[in-house]
């Protein structure tokens, strides 16, 4: 049998190995050259840019007021990009008055129009860059161009348009996004869609209701989550229809939204949802009940303390501790559940809230309760275990230590 190396050798080194060596060395050289050239170019570019930024910054007020004619910098792409970047960065951190001034400048100088044109006519990364800049301006006239970007074939461009619309944070943008998802379904990852809708629907959350009613599958879940975040008391009645929905996410959203609803109505609805079969629906309901700060919720919260899911127990405990009610009777009820996990969760919440000393003091000073009972509760508070449990442990300990005959 001929050696593999000999077989290759018969092909001739030039035919195989030499070519491979040359290719590898060439690749090494190209990579190196690319690194070095890129570094050199960037160094020059940033030095030039830095000098120009400094120059433009010196005359910034004159520049945006129009004292320096716009034509002097608009016709030079390098300067135009710098001015636009400075203006957009300033817009991000500006006060309302300053924002209005900058927006006026961006409009008068034609920068917004230029970006709108680019967002409509260009393709690929140029369109994406225009959409990102347009979103940063938060100008209402850009909404239509951004909405057109939502229909692009490229996912990244659709995402840039979506984020841009989210930045405008206005109901008009929400309508465009909702119309688009209604027409195309969920064709972007859920998070950016949720973020954009939360920002845009905050002012008019009722826009979401018809879409949640008619959407299907994952889109319905996403819209439900958004609804849960932006719901206001005025939506209480609309939200009732989702309390018995088949979709877990939507029931959870309804539970979450109920913390914003009218107290009486919310209490009844949450009372039903804390008994839901799905743990995260119960969790949402417990958290919302906690936010209501309603003493009537104590029995439901105590039920949450004995829940099979650890997170539900913890949140229920936090909610119970947050209630502005005398602590001793509540502690007594917690002990009464005879649930050691629930007790542990409650004691953790009490410790985390820095209320342990207060509870101890209340137990020692509580004249209303019987002293035996208070002593028992104090022991439980100090030991962290139910007394029955401690007794059992003691008995089993004694059994273990007794020598078997």
């Amino acid at each position: 049998m001929e050696s593999i190396f000999e077989q290759l050798r018969r092909l001739g080194p030039a035919a195989f190995l030499l070519k491979a060596i040359v290719a590898a060395i060439l690749a090494d050289a190209l990579f190196l050259a690319f690194i070095l050239l890129r570094r050199w170019y960037r160094k020059r570019y940033f030095a030039k840019r830095d000098a120009r930024v400094f120059e433009l910054r010196q005359n910034w007020d004159k520049l945006i007021s129009g004292e320096i004619p716009y034509d002097t910098w608009r016709s030079k792409p390098f300067d135009r990009r710098i001015v636009e970047t400075i203006a957009l960065d300033a817009l991000d951190a500006a006060t309302a008055e300053e924002s209005a001034r900058l927006l006026k400048f961006l409009r008068k100088s034609g920068l917004i129009e230029k970006r709108i044109y680019e967002a409509r006519k260009l393709t690929g990364w140029r369109r994406m860059r225009a959409l990102v800049a347009l979103g940063q301006t938060r100008a209402l006239e850009g909404i239509y161009a951004l909405a057109q970007g939502l229909r692009d074939r490229d996912l990244e461009i659709r995402l840039a348009a979506l984020r841009g619309l989210g930045r405008t944070a206005c109901p008009e943008a929400a309508q465009e996004i909702l119309a688009w998802v209604g027409e195309r379904g969920l064709c972007v990852p859920a998070l950016p869609l949720q973020s954009a809708l939360i920002q845009c629907c905050a002012e008019r959350p009722q826009l979401l209701i018809p879409y949640v009613q008619h959407a299907k599958g994952q889109l319905r879940e996403v819209l439900g989550r958004v609804l849960g975040e932006v719901a206001t008391p005025s939506l209480s009645l609309d939200l009732l229809q989702f309390v018995g929905d088949d979709l877990d996410e939507l029931r959870a959203a309804a539970a979450r939204a109920m913390s914003h609803a009218e107290r009486g109505l919310a209490f009844d609805v949450l009372n039903e949802l804390v008994g839901d079969a799905v743990w995260f629906v119960r969790l949402r309901a417990i958290v919302s009940l906690g936010e209501l700060c309603e003493p009537r919720a104590i029995p439901d919260l105590l039920r949450g303390l004995t829940d099979s899911h650890r997170l539900v127990r913890l949140r229920a405990a936090e909610a119970v501790v947050k209630l502005a009610v005398p602590m001793v009777p509540v502690f007594q009820k917690v002990v009464g559940t005879q649930d050691r996990y629930g007790l542990q969760a409650y004691l953790t919440a009490v410790e985390n809230a820095g209320l342990r000393e207060k509870l101890e003091a209340e137990l020692q000073a509580d004249a209303g309760g019987s002293s035996d009972e208070n002593e028992r509760l104090l022991k439980i508070l100090q030991s962290g275990v139910l007394l029955e449990e401690a007794a059992l442990a003691a008995v089993s300990g004694a059994e273990k230590s007794t020598p078997r005959s």
């Binding site: 049998m1 001929e2 050696s3 593999i4 190396f5 000999e6 290759l8 050798r9 080194p13 190995l17 030499l18 491979a20 060596i21 590898a24 060395i25 690749a27 090494d28 990579f31 190196l32 690319f34 690194i35 890129r38 570094r39 990364w125 994406m128 860059r129 959409l131 990102v132 979103g135 990244e156 995402l159 840039a160 984020r163 841009g164 930045r167 990852p189 859920a190 998070l191 950016p192 949720q194 973020s195 939360i198 989550r225 975040e229 650890r310 997170l311 127990r313 913890l314 996990y341 542990q344 969760a345 004691l347 953790t348 410790e351 985390n352 820095g354 962290g384």
Partner: protein, 470 residues
């Protein structure tokens, strides 16, 4: 004899070709995905996530063993992270030094009773403490369990968030690292069950107040070579595997997991040597057996900086341990190999690890010996042998420079010219004698494992405080 050598040469040649082609494929995938990721970052608004109601709570678990020098800086770094809902659990794993006292002084710890349900096995607890200055900091003091896995399990038992993030207490996370690593989870909370972040080499860089002030390349050659290794492993390897949903390792120094799933698989295996690899493999198995549609991505921009060994002895120990860990996980997972039930993990990822990671030291050393022997005996043309070596060298350099290139066009953390020149120079120098030494350490690891030597020996570290002083 010559026929035997021929056969071996054939095997080595095809092995070498397959190995290099897979590296090349990974480099191409990584270049493509990194560029796409960079473009995507343009339209991200991380500041929005900071106050986002969609950000789920996270519990950071940081095990600490004899970290008195660096624990203050490390915990301060964790407390300063940008994230809306954060709980930090530091597990003092039976330290023999003053780790607990240091934390007690710095963060005013007071004993508390916190929810602790021993779902995952670990050594007994001595106490639980919460900081008076920052109630989100919980410290668990426990007896030594002899492994990091044991300490993480203790943290897992006390964690109260739906996600846990495991970090090393001698590592430094960038301020926005958690926001960045959570982006895939927030995008698709149902499918994404765990996310891996990138680990970079801290040696040589300056730290101030628990934060990275200036990134510099380390001075020692052995550390610079590790910088290249980390770039290659994360920017090329993990990026490519993550792209195909075949990530089998999420570094123990920085990764996020869904808490309920980690509990469902019983937490970390206390006896595991490579506990991070073991956990991810068990998660894959669990989810594939249940037929769950899931995704475990890798995100290259949330950075965690960690100290790497700076002397040969420690590095050798570390690499031997990694190799032992590899075998320790691959052997119990052998039933997953080539079974369609385990999808890409069973058909691609695990066979790759067996062939090109586990057996690599054995095959490479055997290959070097047989080719050299064949060349000496005249079975093989010496000229051709040299050409083959030259090709191997040039190709390996392409992959290393490729990883430096990826770093240049994406994150560009080494800004000084001097650093880049040194980094590139070491791409040419690392192949001899470091690579051969590395193979020997890995071989030692295999041998130790087969002999039953699985004890964990601590590595010599300088600690974060020394980075500050440099």
């Amino acid at each position: 004899m010559s026929r035997f050598l021929d056969l071996l040469n054939h095997a080595v040649f095809w092995y070498y070709l397959a190995c290099n082609l897979s590296y090349l494929a990974m480099l191409i995938i990584a270049l493509k995905t990194s560029a796409a990721h960079q473009r995507r970052l343009q339209s991200y608004r991380l500041d929005w996530f900071k106050a986002s109601p969609l950000a789920p709570p996270i519990t950071i678990i940081a095990p600490a063993l004899n970290e008195e020098k660096s624990i203050r800086v490390a915990v301060r770094n964790l407390l300063d992270l940008d994230y809306p809902q954060l709980e930090i659990i530091v597990v003092n794993d039976g330290s023999l030094d003053h780790t607990l006292d240091e934390m007690r002084d710095e963060f005013r710890l007071r004993p508390v009773r916190a929810v602790y349900i021993p779902d995952a096995k670990c050594a007994p607890l001595r106490g639980l403490y919460r900081s008076e200055l920052n109630p989100s900091l919980l410290v668990i003091d426990k007896e030594s369990g002899g492994s990091k896995a044991d300490a993480v399990n203790a943290g897992l038992n006390a964690a109260t968030s739906p996600y846990i993030c495991i970090v090393d207490s001698d590592s430094v996370l960038e301020r926005d690292a958690l926001l960045r690593i959570m982006v895939p989870i927030m995008s698709d909370p149902k499918r994404v069950v765990a996310v891996g972040g990138i680990i970079r080499v801290l040696n040589g860089s300056e730290i101030e107040g628990g934060h990275l002030k200036h990134v510099r390349l380390p001075r020692k050659s052995i550390e610079v070579i590790q910088v290249i290794e980390y770039l290659r492993a994360f920017l090329i390897g993990r990026e490519a595997w993550g792209q195909g949903n075949m990530l089998t390792i999420i570094s123990g120094a920085f990764g996020v997991f869904r808490t309920d799933l980690v509990r469902a698989v019983g937490g970390y295996r206390s006896s595991a040597i490579g506990e991070d690899f073991d956990l991810v493999t068990r998660l894959h198995r669990y989810l594939l057996e249940k037929g769950v549609d899931y995704h475990i991505p890798f995100v290259p921009d949330p950075m965690c900086w960690t100290e790497v060994p700076s002397d040969l002895r420690s590095l050798g120990r570390q690499r031997a341990r990694w190799q032992k860990g590899l075998l320790d996980v691959l052997w119990p997972s052998r039933d997953m190999l080539f079974r369609p039930r385990y999808g890409r993990i069973g058909c691609f990822a695990l066979p790759y690890l067996w062939l090109f990671e586990l057996f690599a030291p054995v095959i490479e050393i055997a290959g070097i010996v047989t080719i050299a022997l064949a060349a000496c005996l005249g079975v093989l043309s010496r000229e051709f042998f040299l050409q083959f070596l030259l090709f191997g060298y040039a190709f390996a350099t392409v992959i290393s420079i490729g990883s430096v290139l990826l770093e240049e066009i994406t994150y560009k953390r080494y800004n000084d010219w001097q650093d880049v020149v040194r980094l590139v120079s070491y791409c040419f120098l690392e192949h001899f004698p470091y690579r051969q030494l590395h193979m020997i350490w890995r071989l030692q690891g295999l041998w130790q494992y087969l002999r039953g030597d699985v004890t964990w020996k601590p590595l010599k570290r300088k600690g974060l405080a020394s980075s500050q002083a440099r």
